[in-house]
Symmetry: C2
Subunit: 233 residues, 2 copies
């Protein structure tokens, strides 16, 4: 085992999936839940700024947003805000659906024996309802923010997911919808694929290191590349 | 008046503003209101696809989305869907706030005598609450979808707004947050400026014809160009 393997024993890569915005259509609910929590705390922030931070670790998210508006909050206030976001999100979680093709893709990978795992910046408490909508039980390898020291854009979540699958991170393909997934993928040494389902444009995803950007639900399992018409005109 | 004027009598340009996502922070509420209406009608669609169509005329919006999923609905069903969207949006309209700097910018333009108007693909019924949050009364020139034959990305709304101000469209600067504003601006012959507040990235806005893309609320009245950190890292 002296030399680095590019692929696992069967020569197949592993897939490491982000959850929110990649497998389940929950980004916009998270955005408005953060907005509700921030406004309850007296912090007014344009919604698009919240959108652009979704997928980061909650702690980094708070720091980044508050720095942008030149505010500081104590660690206690930040923890309280995160709790308010979780409550607001869980109130609307029944509106969250799997993204088109996600269940089929996971079932296909399992059928053909390609290892896959899920790695999310969220905590298990908020991830569980999303995993339920995907019909995924406790046997599925899921790494949440509870299990690592640093969430995205740090590489820890994807490194832990690859370790759980016993695959080389360099043989792994990270699939995510936000620039934070792609930055984390690059730092981990994995190949990043960006999905448009989080609301970022393809240029933003590719600038963050996506090797490809795809249109989920335009036929992800068929690997059909989206035409420009799918996302711009 | 045989030759085309580049500027009005004072040599100052006029400003033609989009409303939703440009002056008021309402895009994400519109997105989830459309999602609610579509789901009530049994049409499941990933939320990001709805986001990418916001700002188009409601009729074009419906056609484009339904074509993407290969469905057809009758004119009556489409009208009913638009009505359901309006109702769902109006239920959450009290969460809608002016975008940072918008009121100050409009007040500044009025103070220095630069003509401005608002041109929206929405109908007056949904625009009115947004205009109220901006503190704008009936004296402000507002062109809504009710007053033109075709909404964005057709140029009609901006052409009508310039006519209302009695300025040349070529002396006008269109400010909007969506690719539909910028496509309409280009077709009208105006200069388009894109704002990031609608959730599109700067590349998407510039590809649609934005002469510049700015970060509203990073200091719109100060014309400070956003650093890449404002929207990507």
């Amino acid at each position: 085992m002296g030399r680095r393997r590019q692929f696992d024993a069967d020569g197949k890569p592993a897939f490491l999936f982000d959850l929110d915005g990649t497998l389940v259509d929950s980004v916009y609910q998270h955005v408005l839940a953060w907005r509700e929590a921030l406004e309850e705390a007296g912090i007014e922030l344009a919604v698009w700024r919240i959108h652009r931070r979704i997928g980061m670790s909650g702690g980094l998210f708070m720091n980044a947003l508050l720095r942008e508006i030149g505010r500081h909050v104590s660690a206690e206030a930040a923890a309280r805000l995160q709790q308010m976001h979780r409550q607001a999100y869980l109130r609307q979680v029944r509106q969250v659906r799997p993204l088109p093709g996600a269940r089929e893709l996971l079932a296909y990978l399992s059928r053909v024996g390609v290892p896959w795992a899920i790695a999310t910046s969220g905590r298990l408490e908020t991830a569980r309802p999303a995993l339920d909508t995907l019909g995924l039980g406790p046997e599925v390898p899921v790494i949440t923010r509870d299990q690592v020291q640093r969430a995205k854009p740090d590489p820890d979540l994807f490194l832990a997911a690859a370790a759980r699958l016993r695959v080389e991170i360099r043989a792994s393909i990270v699939v995510g919808d936000s620039v934070w997934d792609l930055l984390a993928a690059r730092r981990a040494g994995a190949l990043g694929v960006g999905l448009l389902s989080g609301g970022y444009g393809p240029d933003e995803l590719e600038r963050a290191g996506a090797y490809r950007s795809w249109c989920a639900g335009c036929g992800m399992t068929e690997s059909s590349k989206p035409t420009p018409a799918s996302f711009t005109v």
